[in-house]
Amino acid sequence: MRIELKKFGTTLISRQSGKEAFAALQSTVIDIAVDEIIEIDFEGVITFSPSWGDEFLTPLLNQFGDRLVLLPTSNPSVKITIKLLEEINKESFKAKS
């Protein structure tokens, strides 16, 4: 399953909207197969922040572990956020190269 983050907005900034996005996604991911990969697509996102990421990506990582895969992006706000979240959570995201 591919999750296009742009469907949640192009400016993904606050904790509150990150939380809302995570809650909204639960109805979609609840029925997926136990071995299905969940790909996160950053295409179309202009601004991304650690607050939003920590409320959306961190719980998804806890929920799906290695089945959560981040697709490549050149957006610097995404790249710095991912690196910081990995350091804070002491856990790496699986990335598709």
Binding site: T10, T11, I13, S14, R15, Q16, S17, I46, T47, F48, S49, P50, S51, D54, T58, N75, P76, S77, V78, I80, T81, K83, L84, L85, E87, I88
Partner: protein
């Protein structure tokens, strides 16, 4: 040709402040009105109003100092207003032709600083809720300020050993610690530091009597004590 003058009512609408605020600003010299031929009515030149509104640093500083009314265009009373204006700034930066690498970084840094103000002060604002948020694409400057509790007061709930604003600022920008424990928070300012360290962006940040300067493409923290005490937080981002 005679320059068109704004009446006080038109000027109030233009700036988004009340008539009483304009009268007070005239009396204390903050924004002096014109009086025609020794009359009593107040008038304003548009260029004076524009100049007044363009001094973002002074407006934000005065607001954190005296809490007087702000021009409506800079005041975000709640997080929803801030988010909407942040998206507008993003659109403005994109249209201004700023590099597509820099736009997301400026917006995310401003977003983290502004959202910190709301996240850490929600339900605890000492007097006026909300943030000052202004930007100038020509000066390449973003200014944010709040009249909240400030970094020391926020952090000392989870780090009671912190005694000075300088120490609190250092912790806020270097250590992963949450001011809203037991929730896992407190990474926004570390993100800000990293963006500045790796990009052509600089930051001035003041809380209490501590001032921090993060310089372009430099990972060093410069923290000093300021002459005056700032209520809440005050930040200037330049790029």
């Amino acid at each position: 040709m005679e320059e068109k003058l704004f009446t006080i009512g038109q000027a109030a609408e233009y700036l988004g402040v009340s008539l009483n605020t304009l009268r007070r600003w005239d009396e204390n010299g903050k924004l002096v009105a014109i009086r025609k031929d020794g009359g009593t009515h107040r008038y304003y030149r548009q260029q004076d109003l524009d100049l007044f509104a363009s001094n973002l640093i002074k407006l934000a500083h005065d607001w954190t100092t005296d809490g007087s009314e702000l021009p409506a265009m800079f005041y975000c009373a709640n997080s929803a207003v801030f988010q909407a204006r942040l998206i507008k700034m993003q659109d403005t930066l994109v249209r201004s032709g700023l590099s597509e690498n820099l736009v997301p970084l400026i917006v995310s840094v401003a977003g983290e600083i502004g959202n910190n103000s709301f996240d850490h002060n929600l339900g605890k604002w000492p007097d006026i809720p909300g943030v000052f948020f202004g930007y100038d694409v020509t000066k390449r400057q973003v200014v944010l300020a709040d009249r909240g509790l400030g970094i020391l007061s926020t952090l000392s709930r989870v780090r009671p050993e912190l005694k000075t604003h300088v120490d609190a600022l250092r912790v806020a920008f270097t250590e992963v610690v949450s001011g809203r424990a037991p929730e896992a928070r407190g990474n926004g300012l570390k993100f800000v530091r990293r963006v500045v360290a790796e990009n052509p962006v600089s930051l001035f940040f003041r809380s209490g009597d501590a001032e921090l300067r993060l310089k372009k493409d430099n990972n060093e923290l410069f923290i000093t004590r300021s002459q005056s005490i700032t209520r809440g937080c005050f930040a200037v981002i330049e790029y």
